[in-house]
């Protein structure tokens, strides 16, 4: 996919995801992602973070200022009740509906994205696809077996069960931040 395609998909994604109350950012590399994370930690006064594990997460977290926060990467179930923020990486992002796709077979992936009031997801920009079917095809292509638990996430948790008034943040996160990372490998800026 060329840069123009990616830019277009990103713009569609951003528009759609923001329409369902997600916050969307795009950064150059893990260093910038780290800065973005630091800002989020500071703005929301975060002290406890639980994180799933991946190379991208490690790099971005490594670049963030975690001086005032405690980050748990293990025994998440134990720490999840008090965590303010959960951090995960999404496998794919669907532009059409502003949706993140996550193989959530591992318990950690689910805990970080369901229990804390804030969920921050990192996505490699190159993992944007246009439609829902594209995501299914891609998964099918990349995995030998259908993952045990696939999560499609579009915006934070919501309800309209009382008088049809839309209220954000009922059982799941109240905030969903999505950070697209253009060069996840941390390549040199050209």
């Amino acid at each position: 996919m060329g840069k123009k395609d990616i830019d277009r998909l990103y713009n569609v994604f951003k528009e759609q995801a923001e329409a369902v109350s997600a916050r969307v950012y795009r950064v150059k590399d893990p260093r910038d992602a780290g800065r973005r994370l630091t800002q989020i930690f500071q703005e929301l006064n975060v002290s406890n973070v639980i994180t799933a594990q991946s190379d991208l997460l490690r790099e971005c977290l490594g670049a963030a200022d975690t001086g005032k926060v405690t980050v748990y990467a293990e025994n998440l179930r134990e720490h999840s009740e008090d965590a303010h923020l959960g951090l995960s990486e999404a496998d794919l992002a669907i532009a059409e509906t502003g949706t993140l796709v996550q193989d959530s077979t591992a318990l950690e992936q689910r805990l970080v994205s369901t229990l804390p009031p804030v969920h921050v997801a990192l996505v490699r920009t190159g993992r944007l696809v246009e439609h829902f079917v594209d995501a299914l095809e891609q998964l099918n292509h990349e995995r030998a077996e259908l993952p045990g638990y696939i999560a499609f996430i579009s915006g934070p948790s919501r309800t309209a069960d009382i008088e049809r008034v839309l209220t954000i943040g009922v059982h799941g996160p109240e905030q969903l931040h999505i950070i697209f990372v253009d060069r996840p490998g941390g390549e040199q800026v050209e």
């Binding site: 369902v20 299914l136 638990y149 696939i150 309800t159 309209a160 069960d161 009922v170 799941g172």
Partner: protein, 722 residues
């Protein structure tokens, strides 16, 4: 109290509930636009064609798919149990819970588990089973039943919710919605963390992969399927589809049709057990039990007509667009599946007897059919239900006499109408009857009734009609229908005048009689089929090229329902098909035969008018643009009303059965008409004409109401201006 009186009482109570009507009405109005936006860029017809094909085939092979699903799911480590009845499903879950020492259960929303009254059962057996969907939790705490399939607590106000929650947390809460939601989050979070078992439903079950798909907004299903070490999914067998690829169209349609969302916040696909944290701190695979619930579904599947109901994806759009549901909500239906499709499902899951009264609530407006993403002909299923109820219980006395003895005997029927006309004299005031005696009293609720015409159309035709002087003299048979024939003969006159103006020759086969719709809607298929045969024979004898009528309800019967009614007799079916192919509504016929939708040689009018789309005109015949084009071309200025295709509440005998419902629907319509500031209301249905002109008259409003045929006829040179 009998079930029937119970229903009438429930209707009365529901109508008195302002909260309910306010919430449902607001949602119903907003829903249409939200849905439309969500479908922008999608081809709804194509999509629902796909869904109908997928679900239809799945229903056909339900047993085979259940077998394959079980095999696939087991190969991924799930346990699959086939429950034939509600009791078997309940027992399985109870036993499982007992074996695992489970005391605390969290549930995410599942119609199937409500259908089998699972909570009550588990609670009776000493377990705490908590609903975690916000709406369901509110209901559970307050001991109420869901009133809507997607929005269960839509009938409650924030104040009521605050009271219910205050009692639960033992302190007084304000009725601030975000605050109430926060309290629910806190309370239910504790339940999630402590639960030893999670129970969910599923929106789709894929045979090929053994996958269940769950769609939610709140995120409670994610917690239910993540935290407890045991997950039980209760899945109705109609949720099965064959292939993984089949989920796509269903997932595209479900949120769009349900809430006007392109996608819900969460879509979860579960294939086999995944790891969970156990109380001892270890993390290992949980237990996943999937219960495939039959409970009436296989008997539905083997029914030639009702198997279509298995195409339902439970989006509830048929409720959201139903004018009756919007007024009375789900409680009056008495069971968890509500609205039109709910009535059919109730018949199979809870017994035909239970559905026999609630099917009466259907107005027959057919609006739901246009919106159904499963492409289900819901009105047809209701008619069939009615027919079977009548077959079992028989018709009540008076309607039975009219339908079976009077209607098929044309002479008797027509003589009775003439007698009725003679009898009505003392009550006639102006052109409207203000009061009617005895059993017809219900008809005057909220509107004046027109008088039966002095001379029926059939008598006028026989004496006064001449063929046109010019033109190709195309022979057009006119089907009047009862209202035009006996109440509004001027409509027939107008049709005649317009056809003559177009150089066509109108004939009126006098052997024609009632189209049969009252019989169809009362469930008397026998009487309806007899009327169909008579009408077909009458027009065959006349050898006409086209058959037109000014009534969309008659047109729908003639064009679509006769074939269905005479289906079992190949000879008659052929004749019905041949007949049906010639039938058109007057207005569509004129539009088609005239110049680009413009009728030449008219004087131009200049009035400001508004147009009402009759349910059967738009919904069953698909005619909406033609009348507008003809009227605009005739110089009239169209001011569209809000919800021009919303039902006027007539529904034939419906206004007798449920006069209060009919009147409220009428009120809403009249308000929309008035808001346009139009000087005239145009429409294309004599039934709507009766309802709306009667409604206006009884409220002392002088706004003229005219059929398109009348408006056009008036503007033919030499008829004076409109």
């Amino acid at each position: 109290m009998s079930e029937k009186e119970g229903l009438k009482n429930n209707v009365r109570e529901a109508l008195a509930n302002e909260n309910l009507r306010g919430a449902l009405g607001r949602f119903g109005d907003a829903y249409i636009g939200a849905r439309e936006n969500a479908y922008a860029g999608k081809d709804f017809q194509e999509l629902r064609g796909q869904i109908a094909a997928i679900k239809g085939a799945a229903a056909q092979n339900m047993e085979e798919l259940a077998r394959r699903f079980a095999e696939s799911a087991r190969s991924r480590g799930a346990k699959v149990y086939r429950a034939r009845t509600a009791q078997e499903a309940r027992d399985y879950i109870k036993k499982l819970a007992e074996e695992k020492g489970v005391r605390k259960i969290v549930k995410s929303k599942s119609m199937a588990s409500e259908e089998i009254h699972l909570n009550e059962y588990l609670n009776q057996h000493g377990m705490e089973s908590v609903e975690t969907d916000l709406g369901e939790w509110i209901l559970q705490l307050s001991g109420q039943k869901p009133s809507h399939m997607v929005m269960p607590a839509i009938h409650m106000t924030r104040g009521e919710v605050a009271d219910v929650f205050s009692e639960e947390v033992k302190r007084q809460l304000s009725s601030d919605i975000p605050e109430l939601v926060r309290v629910a989050r806190e309370q239910l979070r504790k339940k999630f963390l402590a639960a030893e078992m999670g129970i969910s439903g599923a929106n789709i079950a894929v045979a090929e992969t053994g996958t269940i798909v769950i769609v939610t907004n709140e995120g409670n299903a994610r917690l239910t399927t993540t935290l407890p070490p045991v997950h039980v999914a209760v899945v109705g067998m109609e949720k099965l589809v064959e292939k993984f690829a089949d989920v796509k169209p269903i997932l595209e349609a479900l949120p769009r049709s349900a809430t006007g969302q392109k996608i819900t916040s969460y879509v979860t696909m579960i294939t086999g057990p995944t790891p969970a944290a156990y109380p001892d701190g270890s993390v290992r695979d949980k237990e996943l039990h999937i219960i495939l619930l039959d409970n009436g579904r296989t008997s539905m599947q083997s029914d030639p007509v009702f198997k279509e109901a298995l195409q339902c994806i439970r989006c509830a759009s048929c409720l959201n667009v139903c004018p009756v549901f919007q007024l009375v909500g789900g409680h009056v239906y008495g069971h968890i599946y509500t609205g039109g499709i709910g009535t059919v499902l109730t018949a199979f899951f809870n017994g035909f007897q239970k559905a026999s009264d609630i099917q009466n609530l259907c107005l027959g407006c057919e609006r739901c059919k246009r919106y159904c993403p499963g492409n289900i002909d819901i009105p047809r299923l209701i008619r069939e239900l009615r027919r079977r109820v009548v077959e079992n219980n028989g018709l009540p006395g008076m309607p039975k006499f009219v339908l079976e003895k009077v209607l098929p005997n044309r002479k008797l029927f027509h003589n009775l109408i003439k007698t009725a006309r003679a009898a009505q004299k003392p009550f006639q005031k102006g052109a409207m009857v203000r009061h009617l005696p005895m059993f017809l009293a219900g008809l005057t609720e909220g509107r004046s009734l027109p008088a039966i015409a002095e001379k029926p159309f059939r008598d006028i035709v026989l004496t006064g009609h001449r063929p046109p002087a010019t033109g190709d003299q195309t022979k057009v048979g006119f089907f009047a229908g009862c209202l035009t024939d006996f109440v509004y003969p001027q409509l027939g006159e107008a049709v005649h005048k317009v056809l003559r103006h177009m150089g066509m020759r109108m004939t009126f086969p006098v052997e024609q009689t009632c189209c049969g719709v009252p019989a169809i809607y009362m469930g008397s298929r026998k009487a309806a089929a007899e009327l169909a045969r008579r009408n077909i024979a009458a027009f065959e004898r006349d050898g006409v090229e086209h058959i037109i009528t000014a009534c969309p309800t008659c047109a729908h019967a003639l064009k679509h329902q006769y074939v269905e009614l005479l289906d079992t007799d190949p000879g008659w079916r052929k004749r019905a098909e041949y007949f049906a192919a010639k039938v058109t509504h007057f207005t569509a016929f004129v539009a088609e035969k005239s110049d680009n939708g413009e009728l030449p040689g008219l004087q131009r009018g200049n009035m400001r008018i508004t147009y009402h789309d009759s349910c059967h005109m738009k919904g069953c015949l698909g005619i909406t643009e033609e009348p507008r084009a003809l009227l605009s071309a005739a110089g009239l200025q169209l001011a569209e009303m809000e919800g021009s295709d919303r039902c006027c509440g007539f529904g034939g005998s419906y206004s007798i059965k449920f006069p209060e419902i009919s009147r409220r629907i009428l009120d809403k319509k009249l308000a929309a008409i008035e808001a346009t500031g139009a000087q005239m209301l145009a429409l294309d249905c004599p039934g709507c004409l009766l309802q709306l002109s009667g409604g206006l008259d009884s409220r002392g409003k002088a706004l003229p109401v005219k059929h398109t045929a009348e408006i056009l006829a008036q503007q033919i040179a030499g008829s004076g201006k409109s």
